[in-house]
């Protein structure tokens, strides 16, 4: 489930509020809030769409997990999905590297 909106990175663009398919976030005057965490379906799409790598979705789908944000930011986890699918300027060549066609037939 979504666990983190990092206040240092978040620019209050509200993209996460708009794109979340299950309407987990609410807009505020500043940084959006995780208003309905239990509705998170752990699809990672808010994280993928966040241009600032300010979000972190924990892979635990059924229960909340306490996260140490300071420690988390020492790792490269935040934004890792976005980089992996080529949705950053530095990694855009990855958009066309799908090798699924080599895996079919199993």
């Amino acid at each position: 489930m979504i666990e983190v909106i990092d206040g240092e990175r978040c620019t209050s663009c509200d993209i996460c509020v708009n794109v979340c398919p299950t309407n987990v976030f609410d807009k505020t005057d500043g940084i959006p809030v995780i208003a309905r965490q239990g509705d998170c379906q752990t699809c990672f799409l808010c994280e993928l769409y966040c241009p600032e790598d300010a979000l972190y979705v924990s892979p635990f789908a059924d229960q909340a997990q306490p996260i140490d944000v300071v420690a988390l930011k020492q790792t490269d986890s935040m934004g890792s999905y976005r980089r992996a699918v080529g949705w950053t300027d530095e990694t855009s060549e990855r958009r066309g590297v799908d090798r699924s066609y080599l895996l079919f037939g199993h």
Partner: protein
């Protein structure tokens, strides 16, 4: 050549609501809905698309990646593609529909390339078009939908259909949940593209898929078919949501003590995993993947690795606990019955596409998960959009017609007891998640579940209207309940094992039951047998 765009007209509406006049309303913004919207707009229709979540991220495809049943137009390849799953599907497919879906999927996939979808190129320089990355594909489809002049309403769950005095469908209404108001679209035809129902099981990206379109369609009298083929379960890490069963082709499955689960496999051995899970935890390790396969997996489906990388598990070396999450009619093959080549339903003015519509025509009774469903979404979406647009040109303007709202459950004031959506959703899950009820079916267990589900339906039918803040949840829970009842009535009616439907009390395929099971109704659920197309053709030829 660019099409002239015709925009839906925004009309004045009571305070606290927004209203549109359109030719075609598409409900649902996944692959089927966006293809329907684009195709209707290309026919000159004014189109509104209402998505429960955000068109571009909501639905089973957006969060995942999907194979596509894309086959080059070589007669031998096409014939083989049609033949190779007929047995698995219980011989319920229809070759004529398979052929037209293959043609249409080929065309639509090639359009995606023209629109800039970054298909990979293989070592020989050939563009490979049998797979799509969900986020990339759906972001492109949103863009094309907007460029086609379609009005998109995001975060706008539809709640009920509108019908005219003759019972023809002529629009829908719902809520804009981020604006705290309501929407109404008067339209000449409506396309239901709301996906299937996965019962809030958290199978990847599917929690928006709660059977809402089925409920709305049933309230205007639409029929369903193949709803017994509704019991696929997907493998995921026990703690996570990422269901990519294909990758478990390289897994070995073990019990707690490390011994191998006999017969367990991602394909053709998932029931062994289900049986083992009834006894205790089951573990997987992707130790059959060589270095090349590991690399292809990682670059192809990065989200498969998120649950592992973020918990410090190396899925190729470490054992991790797995579970099976119900995919219901999202990867089952049932849905709204299609009555002609334009994807019309049995109700005038109502069309169906994607997982909301039956996939029996190309999948028979076995999951079309991945490739077939993706092909069906493109094809049926385009046909339904065109069909709805063409129907719209034949009916008069809706502005002067008297329309009424068709929604019943959760809207009626009965003042007997409060509507409790969350409790109802849990009660339905308790009847459809257990493997001993849904995976391994048997008459007395199905009847027990149906008894409880029917009682729950009587309960909600007598409950008071849902509170405004709970109306979406209430309709979702009611839709899940109705879906479970169509599934299990149909499962009782099919007294054999065919496709994914397996009956402990009828373990064999019965050649006399090569027919479809049609179902419908709300207070009373009915079923009937409908002949397979091959039988109909044979009859017509005599």
């Amino acid at each position: 050549m660019p099409n002239p765009t015709h925009r839906a007209e925004r009309v004045s509406a009571p305070e606290g609501s927004v209203a549109f006049e359109a030719d075609v309303l598409v409900i649902g913004g996944g692959p089927a809905g966006t293809w329907a919207a684009v195709s209707a707009a290309e026919r000159g229709a004014r189109v509104v698309l209402a998505d429960k979540g955000f068109c571009g991220t909501s639905g089973a495809t957006a969060a995942a990646g999907t194979g596509v049943w894309y086959i080059d137009p070589d007669p031998a390849l096409r014939a083989a593609a049609m033949a190779n799953r007929e047995k698995m599907g219980g011989y319920l497919q229809d070759r004529r529909w398979m052929a037209r879906v293959l043609d249409s999927t080929y065309q639509h996939s090639n359009r995606l390339a023209d629109w800039g979808y970054p298909y990979p190129v293989d070592g020989r320089g050939k563009s490979q078009r049998n797979s799509l990355q969900g986020p990339e594909y759906m972001r492109l489809m949103r863009k094309r939908t907007k460029q086609a002049g379609v009005t998109i309403l995001d975060h706008s769950p539809a709640l009920e259909l509108l019908v005219d005095d003759d019972g023809a469908v002529a629009g829908a209404s719902g809520v804009r949940r981020q604006k705290q108001d309501r929407w109404t679209v008067r339209a000449k035809a409506v396309v239901i593209a709301t996906g299937g129902c996965a019962f809030l099981s958290k199978t990847l990206g599917s929690n928006v898929l709660t059977g809402d379109g089925y409920l709305m369609a049933a309230e205007v009298g639409a029929e369903f078919t193949s709803m017994e083929f509704s019991n696929p379960y997907a493998i995921s890490p026990a703690f996570g949501s990422v269901t990519k069963t294909l990758f478990y082709s390289w897994a070995s499955f073990t019990y707690d003590d490390g011994s191998v689960v006999p017969g367990a496999a991602s394909k053709g051995g998932r029931s062994a995993i289900a049986l083992a899970l009834l006894e205790g935890p089951v573990y997987a390790r992707l130790d059959k993947a060589d270095d090349d396969v590991r690399h292809h997996m990682r670059v192809s489906q990065p989200n498969f690795f998120l649950p592992f990388d973020r918990t410090g598990i190396d899925p190729f070396k470490d054992r991790f606990p797995v579970t099976l999450r119900l995919e219901g009619t999202v990867r089952g093959t049932g849905g709204l019955r299609i009555v002609d080549d334009s994807c019309a339903t049995s109700v005038p003015g109502l069309y169906a596409a994607g997982d909301a519509a039956t996939r029996e025509l190309i999948c028979g009774g076995f999951t079309g998960g991945g490739s077939h469903n993706a092909a069906w979404a493109m094809s049926s979406g385009a046909w339904a959009g065109q069909g709805a647009a063409d129907y719209g040109t034949q009916v008069g303007p809706t502005a002067r017609r008297t329309l009424s709202s068709a929604g019943a459950v959760a809207f009626r004031s009965r003042q007997r007891r409060a509507f409790a959506p969350a409790a109802l959703a849990r009660a339905v899950q308790a009847e459809v998640f257990p493997y001993e009820l849904n995976y391994f079916r048997e008459a007395s267990r199905l009847q027990g579940a149906l008894g409880r589900l029917d009682a729950a339906w009587r309960d909600v039918s007598e409950a008071d209207a849902a509170d405004r803040s709970e109306i979406v949840r209430a309709r979702e829970a009611a839709a899940m309940l109705a879906t479970a009842r169509w599934m299990y009535r149909s499962a009782l009616a099919r007294q054999e094992s065919r496709g994914m439907h397996r009956r402990d009390d009828f373990p064999d395929l019965d050649s006399r039951q090569r027919h479809y099971v049609t179902t419908g109704g709300l207070d009373e659920i009915w079923t009937s047998a409908r002949p397979h197309a091959a039988a109909s053709y044979a009859e017509a030829a005599e």
